[in-house]
Symmetry: C4
Subunit: 322 residues, 4 copies
């Protein structure tokens, strides 16, 4: 079988190495990121702070801002207190230390946000210098936040929803591997391209190597992601999957990497999305059920996103698995 | 006729399905959006708030901002009132409740916009915390608004004006389908590409299917959208329109999808625009009249946008409609 | 001559029409804009305000902002005065009307910029509403200004400097048309493409038509705009210029449209620039002198931008002009 | 040898000239910038202030802002003082001149940042006009700063780390030139292309000319920069390097220009990076050691960035250097 396997042309320019022994786990995670960690450089050089803040969950981002705001105000409250709150006109200095620190905290927040009511105001050189610095810091910080918020909004994304599983379904006179994808937002993609790469970890001359095979699709490009798209790889004799049994794929730790590229109307930009399936996601003998239908009044088409995984079992006419 | 129809190669990778029974109404709306609705996911996951705010009409956007501003101020006025307006120094607490709420409202607006006059100012822990939070919220909100306003301005768009109708006009020794397009803004498009796809709902072996045919143009690409562009599809024997009568097109619920792509000078970005014509938009035996002319002083060319639909009836030399 | 002229293939997809009688003056202006005006739609629909503000000169832009700021403040000063300045606490109402209006003006500017000192502050319902509205307007306006300023900065541009003239110089065994281009900013262009299109207004069968001919270059693409680029069109027998005398080109109102496209390092974006030469810009028998040299210490190359037009007269070995 | 050298096709469209006598030093610097200076135009026309501020080091950028803030405040403090600080209500005019100037300075900073406490406030026409102008200037400046900060964050960059050296290593039955590259940030590149151009300064017919040769790679494009990429140029008989000894390359002041282009996931944009190696960076008889390995728990792959330069000496089976 090994010899016949070799007739399917594998590719070497995927960017992944072909020595299975130095790679750990799956190559690409479900969310499309490479299953890789980097080290050997300090984290502040390795990490793009901007992109980390851009990609974190909305709630985490919001929390980060609140926290930063509080920490900055506490810091400056400490500085004002250290200099002496008697340099903040309008603060009642006959009160307790806690009250003084709180007053300094609120004065700090009024300065940082540039709201500057003025019922508390800086006097004395040092306090004035600190307040002047803080208001500059405030404006710079909020310039950063404006950039981050805009960056988060305007980051081009494909918003693609993939089916949880890849199915092996009857197709024409044989079988085909199928997966389904749809856009779940109110965006519109055109010139949509898909590229499927199969990774198999196989034994070649006693060495465990990773081999990559492109899986051709019935259509590798569609003009527009109007509805859903069921990608179909016909398992013909030319397909590297042709002679693999379910068990053989499991042994080879099969992984299917999916790469999609399209032009997005919203952003007027190219968007990309990747995902990856492993053997666990593969279902033999199943086909997708329709996920769109005519609307009740017949005036439009209705795409039902919750049906993206809907499939039914099917039997193959003749079992041609080896 | 059905058999001869089949000799024109149809395409399957438009992104639309070919089962006419599960689609409702036209495929693409006049404004280029797909005639599709999605469901099966919560609206907040399905909707891109940013893009909705980016694409809504200017007046609606402005109203949304005013409304949000008012609602936020009313909310905070309520909070300040609940805590007690006696914690807002400078407010005359001997006045009526309405006056107190109004004073709280205006204090809120002064805090939210960070104008912070200070004739009214927060005292007391709780009021200070709320005011500090509100000023942060104000700055974040206006960061969002800045991003939205910039996003609205800078969203790459083609600003193409299409003729209301598609005409069947005499052309060379036969006929041609024509439509006209021009840019109506002071932008400049280069490398302008157009792609016409004809959709016909036809009966094939007793099943109603949707067939898509690309309609080749005399020029599918022009170097620059300098003036107006009249797109011409010559109806030769190779054209899927060759043997269709007006009635046959009506029966087949003909739809002509137009897709344009260009590089825009203003945005230095690729821009796209789509539109779609149905049978109702088709005029047999008409041709477009010129829409540009030499200026009075001869020093420049004048493009008259209101003439984009101007056409005159023409008769065909020989009626070759079936 | 007319017949031989026809053997050079002209192109029709430039986006310009081929009827010389409906076009006025040159096709493309020196600055690359099309020599075209549009009418037939209201100016506010035809004009992209954003792009107009983006493309106007820096000084005009600055003046527009100052003017808008003044006009808005005068308007609001009028409103505050109409309501009554007694509703602005802190204003000395015993003064003259001019002083009152000035006080209202400065209060307005303090509100619009959200500086809000508070020595003058709104009292009374109406004045409070106006002030609250003005501070919102202020924040929105400055959101717009922030967007415009960022847009002006970040607008991708090629910053190409073209030679004032096109030269006909000796080249190999014959002649060549040459023009020179360089980047004058500290930006870097890669994958630089150039496209030359010759427009001739000629008499064909008694009708004045515009014919467009692409002029092939020795290199139509260079990897990087490292130094200056002298574009060379060899005038071989295949060139439409081969049999045109200086006078014939003048009669045909020759125009040479230059279109350049590159990828810019600064913006990480495709940039474009166009220009156009007419017969007046053509110099027969001249060649460009070098515009770069080794630096004094030999450690770098020096590009002298003021030498871009530097050329010297040359004589052709044999005069082959007709 | 000179004749055999000529059989390798050199290219002329690199954008660099081929006269070695007018170029100084290396062509491209290590950081990818062209080793070129421009003059002949005033610096303010030649310099893109925006891009200079975008590309300067973070610390320099921060310092520039602090400095500008201080200079603007000193300038306005001078103006307020010249007009007379008695026009600033709240300032104790019985104090020393230094105190007055300091008070004017802090009032200026409160106006510029729009914090506007109000314990010091402008009175009198002139002071009010200046304060009103300053607050406008403040808002405009911070619009600029917001744009710059966003521009700095969002500038698409490839973040590629190149090996310090290029190695000549045994490869197949001969030798190959190798260099290594990896991304050091948490970004992801797809469709990664590399282009190697060799520059040699050689004597041709007694004239010192610069010749450029593209060096073909085993893979010139990889699908994704998943791990590290070792670029391999096989030195076959077709390679311009085939008959060059170490000394000959030194004499020819060999320079290897590397140009990389990819699509970046973070920015959804094309990114580029260039670098250049000279003869000094070349190591004969060495090969790279692996820089990635399976993680301890086997669940992911670990890329060790500090190992990018790690290589070991190797000997060639047969010395085929001339």
């Amino acid at each position: 079988m090994a010899s016949s396997r070799l007739k399917f042309k594998n590719i070497d320019n995927t960017g992944f190495g072909n020595n299975s022994n130095v790679e750990g786990g799956r190559l690409v995670n479900r969310d499309g990121s490479t299953n890789l960690r980097k080290r050997g450089m300090p984290i502040w050089e390795r990490l793009s702070v901007y992109h980390t803040l851009l990609r974190m969950k909305g709630s985490h981002f919001f929390f980060t801002i609140i926290l930063s705001y509080t920490v900055i105000n506490i810091t400056f409250a400490g500085i004002y207190f250290a200099i002496g709150v008697e340099n903040l006109s309008g603060i009642d200095t006959s009160k307790s230390m806690v009250d003084e620190i709180l007053a300094a905290f609120f004065f700090s927040s009024q300065t940082l946000t540039t709201v500057g009511y003025g019922h508390v105001a800086p006097t004395g050189l040092l306090t004035n210098i600190v307040a002047s610095t803080e208001s500059l810091l405030g404006i710079l910080s909020f310039a950063v936040v404006t950039g981050l918020i805009y960056g988060r909004f305007s980051r081009p994304r494909a918003f693609l929803l993939f089916s949880d599983n890849i199915l092996i379904a009857p197709y024409k006179d044989g079988k085909a591997l199928m997966l389904r994808v749809a856009t779940y937002k109110n965006n519109h993609l055109t010139d949509v391209e898909a590229q499927l790469t199969l990774a198999l970890h196989i034994n070649e001359n006693g060495k465990l190597v990773t081999r990559f095979y492109p899986l051709p699709l019935e259509f590798s490009k569609i003009n527009s992601m109007a509805l859903s798209w069921t990608m179909v790889h016909h398992i013909t004799e030319e397909s590297p999957l042709y002679q693999y049994s379910k068990e053989a794929l499991y042994d080879a730790k099969m992984e299917l990497m999916v790469y999609m590229k399209a032009f997005d109307d919203h952003f007027s930009n190219t968007v990309q999305q990747r995902t990856s399936y492993t053997f666990e996601d593969l279902i033999y003998g199943a086909r997708f059920l329709p996920m769109f239908e005519r609307s009740a009044d017949g005036s439009y088409t209705l795409l039902e996103l919750d049906k993206i995984n809907l499939h039914e079992p099917v039997t193959f006419k003749e079992e041609i698995m080896v």
